[in-house]
């Protein structure tokens, strides 16, 4: 059997002998091109066609899409529910602000620091619950989110003051994190955020396509089989949790530099639950779903506000969405919506794949 290994690949996704026609290649290339076009459109075209106000909203959409992606990986790929991602976003922002005001470290370092601290915190909170059950994990993340809210209400976000908390009560209240010098205006900051967001998506993609992704698939389907396969379940669950927390923390840093500073009002406990609902609606399995979730969480409320409609309607929609999605999903937390989408995609792709042999039809 001749073998043509994809260069640089780690084995999974690396492909055995390609059947004539290279169907697999075509699909990936189409995907990649599609994503590249989408990205370029956002990067170059979007700032030109929207006002600063809406561009700022779009920056938030990017931020929350990444947060949603982290949650989607937890829920859709591993089967774990976290009800505290928004609180982690706040933590990321806090860390970035504190270090940013205390030192002159460059922005990328701040992002990394925010991501790392948040990642570690996520692991600490998740660890005791992980060995017990998914339900306990969900409950403890909910409690942690509320606890973090309470702490931040007391300590506020750093605004340049001294001491550990960095909050100067006589100061102007909130203060934004300084932006990187190449991203001072709304447009350049949007682009900067877009790039960082893209990198986070890439990071997640590499995980899902690689060894962790396979381990997660095994864990989600059957823990005994995963164990029998040698997978260290606790480690991989923690890894997923840490990844989601890291990505969220990094975006927290960007959030801290986006508006006029951060307040706890921007991170209500209920938003973590809404985020879960948005992730369900977008479909927990795919990466595009995370973008849909980001749109629902940040763009739609702004639109509703713009049209003088009550934003509460969205909450009701989210609530109904959660119940509907969970009811129609055949098993676990994998949802029907992306499966329906896949069926649709296959339908669309049929004219392209007609004539090629499908796997099962190859001569036995």
């Amino acid at each position: 059997m001749s073998v043509a290994e994809k260069s640089g690949s780690t084995g999974a996704g690396a492909v055995a002998a390609r059947p004539p026609g290279q169907r697999f290649d075509r699909k990936t290339i189409v995907h990649a091109v599609g994503i590249a076009i989408f990205f370029l459109l956002l990067f170059f075209v979007l700032p030109g066609i929207t006002s600063n106000y809406w561009l700022q909203i779009c920056t938030q959409v990017v931020v929350y899409s990444v947060v949603a992606l982290g949650l989607a990986i937890l829920v859709g790929r591993v089967g774990m529910v976290s009800l505290g991602q928004i609180a982690l976003l706040a933590i990321g922002g806090w860390v970035a602000l504190r270090i940013g005001f205390a030192t002159g470290l460059p922005f990328p370092i701040l992002m990394l620091a925010a991501g790392l601290v948040t990642g570690i915190l996520g692991v600490i909170v998740g660890l005791p619950a992980l060995r017990l059950s998914g339900l306990y994990l969900a409950l403890i993340t909910l409690m942690a989110a509320a606890a973090i809210s309470i702490v931040l209400q007391q300590t506020n976000f750093p605004n340049g003051g001294g001491g550990f908390l960095g909050y100067d009560i006589t100061g102007s209240g909130t203060a934004a994190l300084r932006r990187p010098s190449i991203a001072m205006e709304t447009t350049s900051f949007f682009r900067y955020t877009l790039i960082v967001g893209g990198l986070m998506f890439l990071l997640a993609w590499l995980h899902v396509r690689g060894k962790p992704g396979r381990a997660w698939a095994a864990i989600r389907q059957s823990q005994p089989a995963a164990l029998a396969g040698g997978v260290n379940i606790t480690l991989y669950k923690l890894w997923a949790f840490a990844l989601a927390a890291f990505m969220t923390g990094v975006m927290g840093c960007l959030l801290a530099a986006s508006g006029g500073g951060l307040t706890i009002l921007q991170f209500p406990t209920q938003e973590s639950i809404s985020l879960l609902a948005a992730v369900f609606i977008g479909g927990v399995y795919g990466f595009a779903g995370a973008i849909v979730a980001g749109v629902f969480i940040k763009l739609v409320p702004a639109l509703l506000d713009n049209w003088d409609l009550p934003p509460d309607l969205l909450l009701i929609l989210f609530g109904v969405g959660v119940m509907q999605v969970l009811l129609t999903a055949p098993q676990g937390l994998a949802v029907q919506f992306p499966k329906d989408m896949m069926k649709l995609a296959k339908l669309i792709a049929r004219p392209f794949t007609k004539g090629r042999k499908t796997a099962g039809e190859v001569a036995r």
Binding site: V125, P128, A146, P224, I273
Partner: protein, 289 residues
Amino acid sequence: MPDLKPFIVLGLALGGVFALSGVGLVVLYRATGVINLAYGAVGAFGALISWELINNARWNEWLAFLVCILFGGVVTLVYGYIFGPMLAPRDPLVKATATLGLLLVLLGLSSWIWGDDARSIVLPTTSEGFSIGEVNVNYTQIIALALCLVVTAGTAVFLRVTKLGTAMRSLANDREITAMLGVPVRRVEAAAWLGSGLLSGATGLLLSNLVGLDMVGLTFLVIAALAAALIGQLRSLWVTLAAGLAIGIVQACATPFESIGGYRSMTPFVFAIAALLWFARKQPALVRV
């Protein structure tokens, strides 16, 4: 060292309601496998309805309170009746997540109808009271504490002694086998949903009185009840009771201490995570083969 006695009283009342809610959560979980995360939201919504009836529709307050309790029962029952059987074979995590849907719907509705303004609802029992030594105790607080003890004891007895209670315990064990034994599973579950719902209405009313009528705040006070239920390992009513009371007392007593007072609402979380660390210690990696 400030005088803690008044705070202990407050704590017992608050803890009593936490414990009451916790017991409501545990009983429902044991009978249906559902952790009703919307428990607080249901009670809060009911209290808002009562407020509306009292202040805008000029109803008699006792009637309005009754409506609150009934609302809790009915909404929870309807939810359980519709979604219970459909979600019955699923993982407890899925069932709990579904209740988040109800939570969001209620949050959205209440925000739409009533907005975010602060309101208050005062039970007539709050204005009457007596003193134990130098400490003032009002009847609402007495009711809170007494109710939690009575309900816990009553529920424990009910589960053990009555036919319906035994059926509930059997359900908790295995729904399929219970159904095969001829137990009217759906009716038993409905009873559990109704009971838990009525309790949520009652606790909603009590909490609005003790803490204030704020939809979001009350919704997430379910966390304290969750912590108590978690410490009881979603099984033991008495441990849940004790945990609820302990959380209430510690939280209240932290109030006068300047350095930690502001953080006192974290108490449930601290208790819960300590409990989880304790449970996880003895647990090898959980495998069901």
